[in-house]
Amino acid sequence: MKRVLSGNKAVAYGVMLSRVQVISAYPITPQTTIVEELSRFCAVGDLEAKFIKVESEHSAMASIIASSLTGSRSFTATSSHGLALMHEMLHWAAGGRLPLVMVNVNRALGPGWNIWTDQGDSLSQRDTGWIQLYCEDNQEVLDTIIQAFRIAETVSLPVMVVLDAFFLSHTSEIVDIPPQEEVDAFLPIFERQYRLDAREPRAYFGLSSPDYYMEFRYKMQRAMEDSVRVAKTLDEEFGRQFGRTHGILEPYRCEDAELVMVTSGTVTSTSRVVIDRLREEGVKVGLLKVKMFRPFPMDEIKRVLKGIGKVGVIDRNISFGHGGIFAQEIRSAFCNEDERPMVFGFIMGLGGRDVTPDAIEDAIKVTLHNERPMEEIYWIGLKR
């Protein structure tokens, strides 16, 4: 059934269709309409779930860790400072191998207070062991939540589904809401073997000495590596079931490209327009949308960008003291390869500054007209 939904409302529908059983969340702009919509679903009975109106995001994550371990499919949503506050618990959730799904609305971190879109919040959490999936449009948001539970419950790692503040969260688009029975067919009832159960008493998450800790971390890494394959397989299955796929990467017009721009989030949809225009002008430029940031799909990236001479990465984020984070990841993917593209790192759109088609075109031009990057970081749109 097609409806006009904001990104946040699409999240709510995704959560409802996924038959989430325990929600625990704390409001923060621009996530608020997610929790409001979910509250309404619970109140009218569309969603049978316990919704704990916790007093902070840290408690939100802690409580769904506990509810998930006890055996309930659990969910939270947050943004920016709320995610930052959760940081300690993100480690706990991943180390606990809990199949949680969290939606993070990408928003800038202060000071000064900034409620607009920026990838700094989610990318700051990239080491925590969460799978991270970045969405381009509201349909993808809804679909990805459903897939995320399936991925999480398969590999026993939590998944963060990311959407841009306001550009998706508060922007309405046409979204096809799948029927409940079809979602049930794709996403079965959640059951877990090791859970808090008085009939089978065990102690969970106890002190792990140097004799054991490394093996737990090794297992996490292996699960992360395996989730590339799992995500792809499930996406294909999703496609068969619902007639749509989103992939973990999406190359766009890269077949004979001399240079490829790498983007994520809503910058991708703006970039598609720019790519088309430049192609018409004869520029052999392509676009690579990166959806799965964690794990970073090294092999897929290398395969898609093989033989491409230049890559321009658009980062709506920065790792201070280094540079754009997607750019770092791309560079490290190729570091031991014989054939490596030149990687141009572009930082734009921080704190919600609009990433316009012109800005994207500027970045493409810089990439086109330079043999190698002349700067470690190209700041596009900065007021100098």
Binding site: A203, F205, G206, Y212, F216, K219
Partner: protein, 581 residues
Amino acid sequence: MAGKIIFRGESEMPLFPVSSGDMRWNRTGTWRYIRPKYEDKTPPCNAACPAGVDIAGFIGLVAEGRYEEAWHLVREENPFPGVCGRVCFHPCVSSCNREHYDEALAINALERFVADRALALEPKPPVRNVRKEKVAVVGSGPSGLSCAYHAAKMGYPVTVFEELQQSGGILRMGIPPYRLPKDILDKEIADIEAYGVEIKTGVRLGTELTFEDLKDYGAIYLATGAHVSRTLNIPGEDLDGVLSGLDVLRNSNLGKEVRIGGRVAVIGGGNTALDSARALLRLGGNPFILYRRSRNEMPAFDEEISEALEEGIEIRYLVSPTEIIGHEGRVTQLACVEMELGEEDETGRRSPVPIPDSRFTIDVDGVVVAIGEESDLAFLPEDIRVEGTMVTTDTAARTSRKDVFAGGDIVTLHRTVAHAIGFGKLAAISIDCALRKRDVGVVLQGIQVGENGSISVAKYLDELARRRAPHVVVYEELNLAYFEHQARSERARASVPERATDFREVIAGFTEQKAVREAERCFSCGVCNDCENCYVFCPDLCVIIDGGVVRYRINYDYCKGCGICIAECPRNALSVEKEAK
């Protein structure tokens, strides 16, 4: 789930930390440097009891409502709970640690309660191996009967020879019924006879019976007591109307006529004097007591003195008679002098010294002399050594003649029923050792209760019985947090008008409810009574309740030696040991 868990590789490990075993592989006993152990110690009451009764033990049973078992436990050591509960000078009560907390336990009343409840019960003599040697006991007072009882329990055929027509000795002849009803005495003697003890009355050693007659007996126990009244050695003692206290009591107890009445001066300060006065009162007389020292020095029991005073019997202190004055052969007056207290004598009491020119006279109808008793030892052959009027014995009750033993008032100045009973028991053990050729000195060392000479025959018969360290637990060694103040239960007493007219028992016994309440006050010093504080307060779950003979034990595999069990035991029934490394 037990034992250490080994993972050979990451593939054997779970995805996240989750337990699959317990902590029992971790034997935390290696942590400690001291270890607790269960060690019962000696309660002061047990140590003080000359009859060696397991007082804390029997009181614990009363507290649980197990009265019959309590009775049997007392009778392991002392066949006369009904008697002692009434007449004993109760050193147990004087030594009771509870005295420092609120009031000492009324142990004597509890002993009496247990005996009185058992009046309808049979003593159940056990089947035992009959020994071939016969034992002769001379004297059926408390000492003789105690020896007979214990010897019979050990399997010896026992014959008791009693010179009077009725058995019981001082218990029957010396103590009036208002303190010791005769049916109680009869029952307890019958219970002794039930063990096969034969009592032959009207047989006097030295007259109807000779030592030659006793040559077939394996051992002889002499317990003839002290029944010869001391005399004042003043003029007029041979006048009519002058009797000894013993004579007054004997006749009174046998229901025979007491040949004095009216205003009678009773000379003396011991129980005999008090009993004589109180008996005369009940027979219609008007007695008063003269004592040469003050109340502090009076040997009579405090309660006796108080009761006598309640009954209106006047006691005049610091008075000593000098002459009995008569007319036509009958006493009419008593001349006395006043005394004052001087230096301490050999008993530790201050000596009375006459005050010069203080002579005065009192008109009297009779005089009772009750200034002490001595033994008549004329019947003894020369080889049985005697010193003064007491038979010489060693610490095992042996006289100088082989296989002849002696005890009770003929060997000691500690002349109490309880001591006499203790001696009888000692003699029985000593006899058994002699006949089995065991070293009685070694034996006696192993069966001491405390350090006052009390012994336990239960320990003699079974090494494992009453295993208690000899240390006597003092008040400071108790943990009083687990007790609440509670006054002693009181017993009813007959009113003075009631008492003056007949020989009914003055003090009633406990009701069941009061007995249990009183028994529950017992600290059970040094003796575990299953309160389970150790079990409750062990943080490491190392106190195992076995429910067997050894009811509690420490699991030393895990005990960390914190010592909480020792500290929280209310009664010091645990001890600390250094851990051997």
